[in-house]
């Protein structure tokens, strides 16, 4: 009875048109168009009739056609993973074509009830067999979050940062961190974007959604990643819109963003994204300042940071056409940006700088091309390319020693840290190509290729004589992926894939050809590497509301240019680095349930296991001056993460997620050692291993005026205390730790005229907890922000 009622309700929500066309012949034809509730075309749905053998699958425009239908009243069954199966009676008339337009409804009941803020897996991506979490970025567009901080609320992810806006950050996913996790922007690797265009300076408004792939990275994303990937999907709406926002807040922080698109009926398209961040970051920290005379430390006191200003400005412009036969999308664009960052401290807050700063810029032409049904139906091609001509520079020319009071004395170094005006370009280019062929509703074949170039060039005007010692520093990477996806039915899908990793590095080695003084010559050397990785992913709906997933990947990650050739600052290159590899296993389940129509729950749980070898890990170089990287040892990680969400009518939603990861050192013997390493199986230090988030939102409709809505949101973040160094070493109770962190954020959003005008007030770190992500580096205390946003879109 319930089922019938639901069906009835369902059919009310479905839009359905029924038209007849005259046609000759004895059989009837049924054609139609499938869309989701957002009006997006649905490809890959299977359409069948119970009393017929012929069936078909919808194409990328959501269209389908069934011929040879015996006349009469026929039942049409439409099914697609993640959507409610839909049945419909069609009156097939001989010689005529019946047209049906169906709006399919997502099969997640709580979705229709309440907007679940933040981290609801979106239907169209969740159908994949990969272990995936997607953030609906649109729901965060009224906040002042950047991409990094939005990701920080996802289970399994921890973003650690050194300080305030724009500060150095490190992203970790299930225990893999830094470059081991690959970042993508619309499927294009972000590895060459430089400091001016990074997760922590891109406002959330640039993104439509953010997808997090844990452990197994699908072939269509391409590239090499050891333990997962993050793909930022920017707005892909084929309509004109304008989204402009400005926010200001504590520490003289100003941010603005304008995102706009214009789509003409002819298919001509122009897109513009402009954003800017500025902050003095002059938040107070509790420190011991030095007496410049005696070098002793004064007692701890609160001081304001004074050399921490950060700003960046970025413009992304694209022009081209959409919806043409020759190009579903053809966009030529450019990304222009710059950033300026003052550096207040070294790796510890005991090291204070007063003038040291860095600059960077990005000048990156881009090309995006997509075409569907190339040569044959079902064959889709996309090609992307970009080349970054940007530069990076560290400026350290002031010969002073500062203390926390901003006082200074002259030193003899000619610099605060290391005298430098070194400026370099990495000349990074990336080309990606992705070819898909959907044979029919069951079989999908994909080929993906990503090619990356790196050609470091640099000089320092302070040391012009060093220019002649600059030597080739080049790296070429190619990652080729092949995959096959088998969709048995709407309940079960499986993917198999293989990836080939290929890298060539070119560099020079110095030698003395004659043995005479100053006689230096160089010989060019090159390293070549070739590896195969592979994997599989499968997902099955046990119940319409319960999906189970399992995936495995033998992954490789190729060392990047900076690891091979250094960052010209603190990281020294190691050209002999080999790829690191890992066996990644994931098992997960996702379940939606409800007590009644008012109380709904969703539960997601994931179990994962990682076994990584040839880990690229930092060591100190021979002089112990700089950091270098080595292929050394391995780790295992057995982890669980889960999320429970609850919603009550359309009034309230709340969720909690927790992550626990058991990262263990799996290096039994250190190099040149015959005894078992004292840290074998010890917990990997200085990585958070237990953390979680809780959030709650209250929604008030039609506040003061119809169409004006008020949302009150709360977010709580918790990170368990963890050790800076190996837990098993040293006297317990006297060890250095990163204290447990609590951080509470509250926001109130008032949206007027159904979201055209928005005003948001936020308070971050409500009770002013003192937080440290990294040892001794203090993060900002309580901060307030106000954000004003205007959004208009042409339907």
């Amino acid at each position: 009875m319930m089922y019938l009622k639901k069906l009835l309700l369902l059919s009310l929500l479905l839009s359905l048109t029924f038209t007849m066309f005259a046609q000759s012949g004895n059989d009837a034809t049924i054609k139609g168009m499938l869309k989701n509730e957002q009006g997006e075309s649905l490809a890959g749905a299977s359409i069948s009739l119970p009393d017929h053998t012929n069936k078909t699958v919808s194409d990328h425009r959501g269209q389908f056609q069934l011929k040879g239908i015996r006349p009469g009243k026929r039942v049409l069954i439409i099914s697609l993973i993640g959507y409610k199966k839909y049945q419909l009676e069609v009156n097939a008339i001989a010689g005529e074509t019946a047209t049906v337009n169906v709006s399919m409804q997502a099969d997640m009941k709580h979705m229709e009830a309440v907007s679940v803020i933040g981290r609801t897996p979106l239907q169209n991506v969740q159908r994949q067999a990969y272990n995936l979490t997607a953030i609906d970025a649109k729901k965060l567009h009224n906040t002042t979050l950047d991409l990094a901080h939005a990701l920080d609320r996802v289970s399994g992810i921890r973003v650690r940062e050194d300080g305030g806006l724009g500060s150095r950050m490190n992203f970790s996913l299930n225990g893999f961190s830094g470059r081991q996790v690959k970042m993508f922007l619309d499927g294009i690797p972000m590895e060459n974007f430089g400091s001016s265009f990074q997760l922590n300076n891109i406002p959330i408004n640039l993104a439509d959604r953010v997808e997090v792939y844990k452990g197994v990275v699908p072939v269509w994303l391409g590239a090499d990643a050891l333990g997962g990937a993050v793909n930022i999907v920017t707005s892909n709406v084929k309509q004109s819109y304008l989204d402009a926002s400005y926010s200001f807040g504590s520490f003289n922080t100003h941010r603005s963003a304008v995102n706009a698109a214009y789509v003409a009926n002819s298919g001509f398209t122009a897109q513009l994204n402009v954003f800017q961040n500025y902050s003095d970051n002059d938040y107070k920290v509790r420190v011991q300042a030095t007496n410049l005379e005696t070098k002793q430390y004064y007692p701890a006191t609160w001081v304001r940071r004074f050399n921490d200003t950060y700003h960046n400005e970025t413009l992304i412009a694209n022009v081209g056409v959409v919806g043409k036969k020759y190009a579903d999308k053809l966009l030529v664009g450019i990304t222009l940006g710059q950033n300026y960052a003052e550096l207040q401290t070294g790796a510890r807050m005991k090291t204070v700088y007063g003038e040291l700063h860095r600059r960077g810029n990005i000048v990156m032409p881009t090309l995006k091309y997509q075409v569907k049904d190339l040569f044959v139906k079902g064959l889709n091609l996309s090609v992307n390319g970009n080349y970054n001509l940007g530069t990076e520079q560290v400026i350290d020319t002031v010969s002073r020693l500062y203390n926390w009071f901003g006082q200074w004395e002259a030193n003899t170094k000619g610099a605060e840290r290391e005298r430098s005006l070194y400026k370099f370009k990495n000349n990074n280019g990336i080309g990606t190509a992705n070819l898909n062929y959907r044979l029919n509703e069951h079989h999908l074949f994909s080929v993906n290729n990503v090619y990356t170039t790196f050609n470091r060039k640099g000089s320092d005007e302070l040391f012009p004589e060093n220019a002649k010692y600059e030597q080739p520093q080049k790296s070429f990477k190619n990652v080729l992926g092949l995959s096959y996806q088998y969709d048995y039915n709407e309940k079960w899908t499986t993917s198999l894939f293989a990836k080939n990793y290929n890298q060539v590095n070119k560099y020079a080695e110095s030698y003395n050809p004659t043995g005479g003084w100053g006689d230096v010559a160089y010989r060019e050397l090159s390293n070549k590497m070739n590896n195969w990785g592979y994997g599989a992913a499968t997902a099955y709906f046990l119940l319409p509301t319960l999906q189970v997933k399992a995936s495995y990947e033998k992954s490789y990650r190729l060392p990047e240019g900076e690891e091979l050739f250094g960052d010209m600052q603190l990281l020294e290159g190691n050209v002999t680095l080999r790829p690191e590899s890992s066996n990644n296993y994931n098992v997960g389940a996702s379940w939606q349930t409800k007590l009644n129509d008012d109380h709904r729950f969703s539960v997601d749980a994931n179990f994962l296991y990682r076994n990584a070898t040839d880990f690229i890990r930092p060591t100190l170089n021979r002089n112990q001056i700089k950091q270098s990287n080595e292929n050394l040892g391995g780790i295992t990680n057995m982890g669980v993460d889960g999320e429970i969400r609850y919603s009550f009518k359309r009034i309230f939603t709340a969720g909690v997620n927790m992550t626990y990861q058991n990262l263990r050192n799996n290096t039994k013997f250190e190099s040149e050692q015959k005894t078992v390493s004292p840290t074998y199986r010890d917990r990997i230090p200085n990585i958070p291993y237990m953390f979680g988030n809780a959030d709650a939102s209250l929604f008030f409709k039609n506040v003061l005026k119809k169409g004006n809505h008020l949302t009150v949101g709360y977010n709580f973040q918790y990170v368990h205390e963890f050790f800076l160094s190996w837990p098993g070493q040293g006297t317990a109770g006297e060890k250095l730790t990163i204290p447990r962190q609590f951080c509470q954020d509250v926001n109130v959003v008032y949206a007027l005229a159904d979201g055209r005008y928005n005003v948001a007030v936020e308070c971050k770190n409500l009770v002013n907890n003192r937080n440290y992500d990294n040892f001794s580096l203090q993060k900002p205390g309580r901060a307030f922000n106000v954000k004003l946003r205007y959004f208009i879109s042409k339907k």
Partner: protein, 414 residues
């Protein structure tokens, strides 16, 4: 409405949850005032767990070095920073942070009056230095740039108060006067002067430590406390004394000064010294090399060069020798020399595969009566303190240090 109230109560509860008290981040500092030391000693062994990187040593304290075992597992004081160097003076144990170009920091420790626990007594800021020594009641720290700036900086630290009391600078390019830079290898108090041997280095061109002067010896004589260069003592029978971060001078009981040269000066990373690795002498009260004295250790050892030296008393020095002949490579081998008699002998009973050993510049653990010396040795199968019987030139295993590579052993008065 009832529901709304419930929700609001829940929200308030959640907010309260976060109002936890934050722990204070400033470490405890113990103040012993001007407590005099008792003349009793304890040993501090510094050890880094094998395979750890970017993490400073653990400080282990022990009453003896002769037998038993000590471990870093669940034991030892953890320190901040990545690389640290040590010195004991006036009953204090100083741990110097090597800040990789950044300002460094020095942490001072003392044992409590019962000698049972090593406690932090002070912290102060310094530059990252490449040489340090004891002068009177002070520490003298020397920062020597290997490129760029041409001034070496000297910092005088009051060892009792742990505070800086003076500084001085010396132009090292002018001092070298050969187009290269004078890079002080170490410094040693001799009478009321400081003797600072140096190596000549190019300081540029991706070959900072390379030189074209591989066959000369220099010792700068500095006044104290104003640290003016009074004289440079020169020689050309061997190469420079000491090495980067390596003390090459020893003063015997009668006041004579012996200088140890490895003769491994390089250019583009190739050894180009043509003179042998040897010991030279400056007689007490003079500021000239004793031309009548030359101890060709390379010849006496059958072709091996000196890597490092530790004075054991009675003219006896413990030498670490490079394993490969006429080269600066190979596993180290231990030897005992008597510099007055110019006698050389390999030490028996030591391990074959010495991967590294405890620092020589701060090793003050010798028994002082000419009987015993101690050295920490790390091998592929483990780490031990070896006891050196000076009379028989024999090494035997003493205290085992489990889990950690020994970086230094020192004797601290409390």
């Amino acid at each position: 409405m009832k529901n709304l109230n419930r929700i609001l109560t829940l929200a308030c509860g959640m907010a309260m949850l976060g109002v936890g008290c934050d722990k204070d981040d400033i470490d405890a500092i113990y103040d012993f005032g001007d407590r005099e030391t008792s003349g009793k000693y304890k040993y501090v062994i510094t050890a880094t767990p094998a395979g750890t990187t970017g993490i400073a040593d653990y400080l282990l304290s022990t009453d003896q070095l002769d037998n038993g075992a000590i471990t870093t597992a669940g034991n030892g004081i953890e320190q901040d920073g990545s690389y640290r160097y040590y010195m004991t003076h006036k009953g204090r144990f100083f741990s110097l942070l090597y800040g990789q170009g950044n300002p460094g920091a020095v942490t001072t420790y003392r044992f409590d009056s019962a000698g049972s626990k090593l406690l932090k007594t002070s912290e102060f800021q310094t530059e990252t230095v490449q040489a340090f020594t004891k002068v009177n009641d002070e520490l003298l720290l020397i920062k020597i740039p290997r490129s760029g700036v041409e001034t070496a900086s000297f910092y005088r630290i009051d060892a009792l108060k742990s505070q800086q009391i003076g500084s001085a600078a010396i132009n090292i390019v002018q001092l070298a006067a050969n187009g290269e830079r004078a890079h002080f290898t170490w410094a040693t108090q001799v009478g009321d002067k400081v003797f600072a041997p140096y190596m000549s280095i190019k300081g540029c061109c991706n070959d900072a430590f390379g030189t074209v002067y591989p066959d000369s010896t220099w010792v700068a004589v500095l006044s104290y406390p104003d640290l003016k260069v009074e004289k440079v003592i020169r020689d050309n029978r061997t190469s420079y004394i000491g090495n980067y971060f390596n003390d090459g001078l020893g003063v015997t009981e009668n006041g004579d000064i012996y200088g140890f040269s490895s003769a491994i000066a390089t250019n583009t990373s190739k050894v180009i010294s043509t003179k042998p690795s040897a010991v030279v002498r400056i007689l007490k009260g003079t500021t000239e090399f004793d031309k009548s004295y030359f101890f060709d250790v390379e010849e006496a050892s059958g072709g091996h060069k000196i890597s490092a030296q530790t004075y054991l008393g009675n003219n006896k020095f413990l030498l670490m020798m490079y394993g490969d002949k006429h080269a600066n490579t190979g596993n180290r081998k231990m030897a005992l020399v008597d510099v007055a008699e110019k006698s050389f002998g390999w030490i028996k009973g030591g391990p074959e595969d010495i991967q590294s050993s405890s620092a020589p510049y701060n090793n003050n653990t010798g028994s002082g009566d000419g009987e015993l010396g101690y050295i920490g040795i790390n091998t592929a199968t483990g780490s031990w303190i070896y006891k050196i019987d000076i009379k028989t030139a024999t090494a035997t295993r003493g205290l085992e240090v489990q889990g950690g590579k020994i970086t230094a052993i020192t004797k601290v008065e409390y």
